[in-house]
């Protein structure tokens, strides 16, 4: 019989998931148990006496009931909107004393409930959305960490500047992204968003306000970067930025995913493009995006690399497909779907107001609006895998087979992530797969729900099947936000997880901060 160990309230007991514990067991989504509310009134009284505004009630809490994933549901006891580091510090100190869990939320774009509070306080970081200062000469920006990347881009553009890399999603917050990774179509050259952070202001779980960087309080910095909010709340960040440049986009079409990935990796290895990524439409219609913001690299691409790519241009591919389906008339539904996607989605990427002289302005706006319009819904089911370069094709093909089994239509989004040797300590127990050198590769598997009705179990089984590939191949999960707690030990092993758990216990004695995410 399964023995459930007694756990002291406010602490986390031994992990019941042994490395092989879940094999063969039919899995279902299980939300963490809701915190029991012990001591809540005294906690609230202390907070309010200290001038912190805390909202309670079904509406105030209900709006935070789920995240972008829409499969995990939980209610906080109360909500605090972050205003400044002092307020966050007071909140955490009080929470430690009263052993009240605090769940931090930025854009809330997690998909496994990591930014959902199962009781306790939900701290909404987007209240801290000011840009503190821009150093145009030194190419850095200091910003409050609740700011959305898009709002940061708006401010930077007034000085003709831009951030380096951020999720292709305008409403991810800076703090939430630095905590989980952040992949852009330029990550194969520039690394993930977390690599762009120079220093952070962090409120530790016990409420200290600490400035940290690789050279100042380096250990805290290394744990907070890519740390899933376990070791502190990021309240401000100094990031590298750059002059703004529009892009010239090229699209190549493939009928083989494998060939497209090989070409993507050739481009990345040879530093042959500024931006690159793969977006599939169907198994037999795969789009490799190649883009440039530097004329030299674009010229070099045309001189040396373009002819080596095995993909077709749009017209060439349309002709190929026409021939393909003419010989297979029974596949007319597939052809119709392809045509429909082309008609609906392609114009989004060519809207006149974002194009000048054949260059695309504000790619994140273009991509993000298209993503939300064509893939968005109340349930974003996007499990992902991150692997070293040499294992990537196998991981993607296996993941693609899982998609085929569970859904009629789906999209894969693949991108490279340049690794910085000097950032190795940041990568420990993170989305960066152990053992990756040079580049890691990420693939996101996104079913097209298309108004279909699927049970939560169906979604969850699908995600588990993808995550299982990661365990089997020794991979990681490139947003990692997509990784479920039950997988952590299986992926990283007991020794590493226990070491991090010991650090967590030391930093967060009452285990209150984002406690259901990792440990």
């Amino acid at each position: 019989m399964l023995k459930i160990p007694l756990v002291e309230p406010g602490t986390v007991g031994p992990c019941p998931v042994a490395s092989d514990a879940l094999q063969g067991i039919k899995r279902q989504q299980t939300n963490p148990a809701r915190w029991n509310g012990a001591g809540w009134p005294a906690f609230v009284a202390t907070l309010r006496a200290g001038g912190v505004e805390l909202a309670e009630g079904s509406v105030a809490c209900g709006v935070y009931a789920t995240d972008a994933g829409g499969t995990a549901y939980g209610l906080p006891h109360g909500v605090v909107i972050a205003r400044n580091a002092g307020q966050v510090s007071f909140l955490l100190k009080t929470a430690q004393t009263h052993r009240v869990p605090v769940t931090v939320r930025g854009g809330g774009l997690t998909t496994e409930g990591e930014s959902v509070a199962f009781g306790g306080v939900l701290l909404d970081m987007i209240g801290m959305s000011r840009v503190v200062s821009i150093d145009a000469a030194g190419l850095t920006v200091r910003t409050e960490a609740g700011i959305f990347w898009h709002s940061l881009a708006e401010e930077l553009r007034r000085e003709n500047l831009d951030y380096l890399s951020a999720p292709l999603n305008m409403t991810s917050s800076v703090g939430g992204t630095l905590g989980v990774g952040g992949i852009d179509v330029n990550s194969a050259r520039l690394g993930c968003s977390a690599d762009q952070a120079i220093s952070l202001q962090v409120v530790t779980p016990s409420g200290e306000i600490v400035e940290c960087s690789d050279s100042e309080n380096g250990e805290l910095f290394q744990r907070v970067i890519l740390g899933y909010g376990q070791f502190g709340i990021i309240t401000e960040a100094t990031l590298r930025i750059r002059p703004y440049t529009p892009l010239r986009m090229y699209y190549y079409y493939y009928s083989s995913l494998r060939v497209a990935i090989e070409d993507l990796q050739i481009l990345d290895r040879n530093d042959a493009s500024d931006y690159s990524g793969i977006l599939t439409i169907m198994d037999c219609a795969v789009n490799l995006l190649v883009a440039f913001d530097s004329d030299e690299r674009e010229a070099a691409f045309h001189a040396h690399w373009k002819s080596r790519l095995r993909g077709y241009g749009e017209t060439g591919f349309a002709l190929c497909m026409a021939g393909h389906y003419a010989l297979r008339p029974w596949k007319f539904r597939e052809a119709l779907y392809l045509l429909q996607r082309k008609r609906e989605v392609f114009p989004e990427f060519r809207r006149a107001e974002y194009m000048r002289d054949k260059k695309m302005y504000d790619r994140t706006v273009v991509f993000s609006r298209a993503v939300w319009k064509h893939w968005g819904s109340k349930q974003m089911v996007i499990p992902d895998l991150a692997t070293p370069a040499d294992k990537f094709i196998e991981a993607v093909e296996r993941g693609n087979a899982v998609c085929r089994k569970y859904f009629t239509h789906y999209t894969l989004y693949c991108v490279g992530i340049k690794l910085r040797p000097e950032h190795l300590p940041h990568y420990e127990m993170s989305c960066i797969p152990p053992g990756a050198e040079g580049w890691a590769y990420g693939c996101e598997f996104e079913p097209m729900i298309e108004g279909g009705i699927y049970s939560r179990d169906h979604f969850q089984s699908f995600k588990n099947a993808i995550y299982d590939i990661g365990v089997d191949m020794g991979a990681s999960y490139y947003r990692f936000g997509g990784m479920m707690k039950g997988y952590i030990r299986r992926v990283f092993g007991d020794a590493l997880v226990d070491r991090h758990l010991a650090m967590k216990r030391k930093a967060d004695p009452a285990m209150i901060l984002n406690r259901d995410v990792i440990f």
Partner: protein, 350 residues
């Protein structure tokens, strides 16, 4: 609002469809000013999903300026400004809780109701002989400045429609009831005409009430006159009236894009190509119950920009900019110096 005319086919989805993507929040002036997720269209939509009532949402509903910026960005095609108008309507009609005295309404409501019930509206002016004529609805702000109105009318070379629906526009703003007979007579009188309206909110509703009609905001109409357009300069900052722009966004975003390419001026658009309102007065401000709007919006439009001149479509924006800058601010109508150059052109109509 009478259901027959107010519920429009152009509003295909309601708050229940909100996925929480936050795209609407990025463009909302309430958000820019307060950085409070409750004071956003997303906050309202999600709260309604959780069972909030109009009374629970009184703060954001009254703070909203009905600029319409949130409508075109919503990937779920939720009619967000329509949602706020509906909530205002519910608030305006809300009964006090049992046992409490009747709620205090500003006298404006009663006056407006009386006007709409009793006032005999003049028919269109005699120049409007054909149903196909384009007519101009100037609205109260222009009417309050007869010289300016005369200049505008000369530039547009359009007849002023005597019933410009100012009471209906005000009722829309306040959430007051519009008697069915009043609305019907207004809409019927405009049927068949092409319409130029200075009030962006009225224009928004006319799209629903008169589907298929040709409508245009004052800014686009003036700008289609050569006398005006030829005086725009690449060094100008052109400030768009947001309501009219967002009410017909798909067409207007292309229109302004072309204007920018032609003139080279900068526009008051954000990176999502949404018109940034230069001021964002909420209901209380419009009712005179709150102090004037602050300068957050106008300052944000100007941040990092050093135009030689600011050209506005909306008269109210002149004051907003003059409060914060010495850069000359002019209305589009002031650009058309030489009335002999006025050419009648229907180019900007669809």
């Amino acid at each position: 609002m009478p259901a027959t005319l107010a519920k429009a086919p152009a509003a295909p989805r309601d708050f229940a469809a909100c996925s929480g993507c936050s795209l609407c929040l990025l463009v909302c002036p309430m958000w820019r000013r307060h950085h409070d997720p409750r004071l956003t269209p997303e906050g309202m939509a999600k709260a309604l999903q959780c069972g909030a009532t109009a009374a629970d949402l009184a703060d954001p509903v009254e703070t909203c300026s009905l600029c319409g910026a949130c409508d075109p960005v919503c990937p779920e095609r939720i009619d967000l400004s329509g949602m706020v108008m509906e909530l205002r309507h519910q608030l305006a009609g809300a009964l006090p809780p049992p046992g409490l005295p009747p709620m205090e309404r500003p006298a404006l409501f009663a006056e407006l109701q009386a006007r709409m019930q009793h006032e005999e509206r003049p028919a269109g002016p005699s120049q409007v002989s054909l149903r196909s004529d384009t007519v101009f609805l100037p609205g109260p702000a222009l009417r309050a400045d007869p010289a300016f109105l005369e200049r505008t009318v000369a530039l547009l070379n359009l007849p002023v429609f005597a019933d410009d629906g100012d009471d209906i526009a005000l009722a829309l703003e306040l959430g007051a009831d519009i008697p069915q007979t009043r609305l019907q007579s207004f809409v019927d009188s405009l049927r068949g005409h092409s319409i130029v309206a200075a009030d962006g909110l009225l224009l928004r509703q006319l799209r629903r009430w008169l589907p298929g009609s040709k409508r245009m905001g004052l800014g686009a109409a003036l700008c289609s006159r050569a006398a005006v357009r030829s005086n725009l300069a690449a060094t100008d900052l052109y400030v768009i009236e947001p309501r009219a722009c967002h009410a017909d966004y798909e067409r207007m975003v292309i229109y302004y894009n072309n204007l920018q390419i032609e003139i080279g001026c900068s526009l008051s658009l954000d990176l999502q190509r949404i018109a940034i309102p230069a001021s964002a007065p909420g209901l209380r401000h419009r009712l005179g119950l709150a102090a004037a709007d602050d300068d957050t919006q106008a300052r944000w439009i100007l941040r990092g920009r050093t135009p030689e001149r600011i050209v506005v479509e909306d008269l109210a924006d002149i004051a907003a900019f003059r409060r914060i800058t010495d850069i000359p601010v002019v209305h589009l109508a002031e650009l058309g110096g030489d009335p002999t150059m006025i050419r009648k052109t229907a180019r900007a109509f669809n």
